[in-house]
């Protein structure tokens, strides 16, 4: 029963939108609208689930005094403070919540992201080598695209770098991206069919408590 009901539910809610897409009937469309509405609500449950997971993982780390447990204190304190102000004043235009976001969360995350330029420069120097033909092509393309993304490129080459960079992005890159997107979509579709038909059941867990 613990497996049959979820499998039956998955089959129904998985198959119904496909049916609604292909069958132009008002009654089917209405029920599908209700399903869409329910999906927004169900999706919202992912957030508290994620929060509980973060709390459980970090409290367990604290109890075990695992490596870096001090960071868990900072994380849990940050979570609690933001949650308290968010719950009391709302996450909208409440000055305290927004102040903390703009002055604490935002600079911290921006700093983390800004560090990338240092690592990219260091990694490019150490790892980006013209070891073979493929690597050389990649290297030349990367330099052209990087030059095309900055005004210097056009200044040096008399305006040729941007069109060349755009050509690389629009033709070879777009072709490769298209292949990846189509491949991923086919993979997602086949996985969805497997889940709807109950062939793929890993999402149900191991079955052990």
């Amino acid at each position: 029963m613990r497996r049959t009901i979820p499998l039956a539910l998955t089959f129904i809610v998985g198959l119904y939108p496909i049916l609604a897409f292909f069958v132009p009937d008002v009654r089917i469309a209405h029920a599908n609208d209700w399903l869409d509405e329910a999906l927004v609500i169900v999706a919202a449950f992912a957030l508290p689930l994620g929060t509980v997971n973060v709390i459980m993982t970090n409290t367990s780390k604290l109890k075990k005094k695992a490596r870096g447990w001090q960071y868990s204190i900072v994380l849990l304190a940050g979570l609690a403070i933001m949650a308290i102000y968010g719950l009391i004043g709302g996450t909208g235009v409440d000055p305290k919540f927004q102040w903390m976001f703009v002055n604490m969360v935002s600079p911290l995350q921006s700093t983390m992201f800004a560090l990338l330029s240092f690592y990219v420069a260091s990694a490019a120097y150490r790892a980006f080598r013209a070891r073979n033909v493929e690597a050389t092509i990649l290297l030349i393309a990367a330099i052209i695209v990087m030059m095309g993304r900055i005004p210097f490129g056009d200044m040096i080459t008399g305006g040729r770098m941007t069109p060349l960079s755009e050509w690389i992005m629009s033709i070879p890159n777009a072709a490769a991206q298209r292949g990846i997107i189509i491949g991923a979509a086919l993979g997602a579709a086949s996985m969805s069919i497997r889940i709807i038909l109950g062939i793929e059941t890993t999402y149900l867990g191991s079955g052990k408590d």
């Binding site: 927004v40 169900v42 996450t91 976001f101 991206q177």
Partner: protein, 294 residues
């Protein structure tokens, strides 16, 4: 010259050079020229065609990590829409701070324009979870998905919503996106409902959007800081208020055009290191070969 030694240069030297390269243009801006590209002026021209009877959706689908790249873009697009008096529906579908980015940007930009009224000319609908489900729902009714605005006030009585019931009333959706939400707008809202979609994305995620752009599923793309600077350039060239505004030190310092100075120098440093690293690599190979032969 010992190439092997140079190849193993202390990484702190590289960090220092990058830091200097980033700091110099901040202290002393260079003001490098910007030339707008086709994907950017397509969105600019689209908004130029719109007026007070039209409505656009601007979805803040990014968090603080992408703020330096996407904030200037958001500011330029909002300024353009407000200058044209286009009705703006702002929302956020990105969970990690999208709504806060929207509040921060919208309030600041709206204050620059006299006579703009919240609820009449623009509204912040706040955050909604379940990106794809939310997008699908808006085809039936935007108001049903967002019954209240970001402050919790009902949107029923807001005049801005009367002309924006569902996608039929939306002239263009602009998603400022990091991650996959921009793709959802393209492959769901454009593909299924036919709404023109433009995506402003970080430079690192721009390559994947070229496939959609080439396929015509996206009407425009603003890629990274460069896309933002190109949009600013178009705005500055067209509108006197924008030319004056982007000359103000505070606005200028935070603009994408100023950011391009930093990006240019850092890109040049990275390119130099790639070329220098390869030169040293081949020199090292040559030196090793010569040593073996001896």
């Amino acid at each position: 010259m010992n190439a092997k030694k140079l190849l193993n240069v202390d990484r702190r030297v590289i960090y220092l050079l990058v830091a200097i390269g980033a700091l110099i243009p901040i202290i002393r801006p260079i003001g490098l020229p910007t030339v707008p590209t086709e994907p950017v002026w397509k969105l600019f021209n689209k908004i130029e065609e719109l007026g007070p009877d039209d409505a656009v959706i601007i979805s803040f689908d990014y968090g603080p990590s992408s703020e330096p790249e996407l904030n200037p873009m958001a500011q330029a697009i909002l300024r353009h829409c407000f200058a044209r008096r286009v009705k703006v529906l702002v929302m956020a579908l990105f969970p990690l701070g999208g709504v806060n980015m929207a509040i921060d940007q919208l309030d600041g930009i709206a204050d620059e324009f006299e006579g703009l009224e919240y609820g009449v000319d623009y509204v912040n609908l706040g955050y909604k979870d379940g990106a794809q489900a939310a997008m699908k729902r808006m085809d039936i009714s935007i108001q049903a998905l967002f019954p209240t605005d970001v402050n919790g006030d009902p949107v029923d009585d807001m005049p801005v919503m009367t002309g924006a019931r569902n996608y039929d009333d939306i002239s263009v959706v602009i998603s400022l996106a990091t991650g996959i939400i921009g793709e959802y707008w393209v492959n769901l809202v454009n593909a299924q409902f036919g709404v023109p979609v433009a995506v402003g994305c970080t430079a690192v995620s721009a390559p994947k959007y070229y496939a959609y752009l080439r396929a015509g599923q996206m009407m425009s793309m603003l890629g990274g800081l460069k896309g933002g600077s190109e949009y600013e350039k178009l705005l500055v060239d067209k509108y006197d208020f924008a030319r004056e505004l982007y000359e103000e030190p505070d606005v200028k310092a935070r603009s994408a055009m100023a950011g391009m100075d930093v990006q240019s120098i850092v890109h040049m440093i990275i390119i130099f290191f790639i070329i220098f690293g390869n030169a040293m690599y081949f020199l090292m190979k040559k030196q090793e070969k010569e040593e073996k032969e001896r």
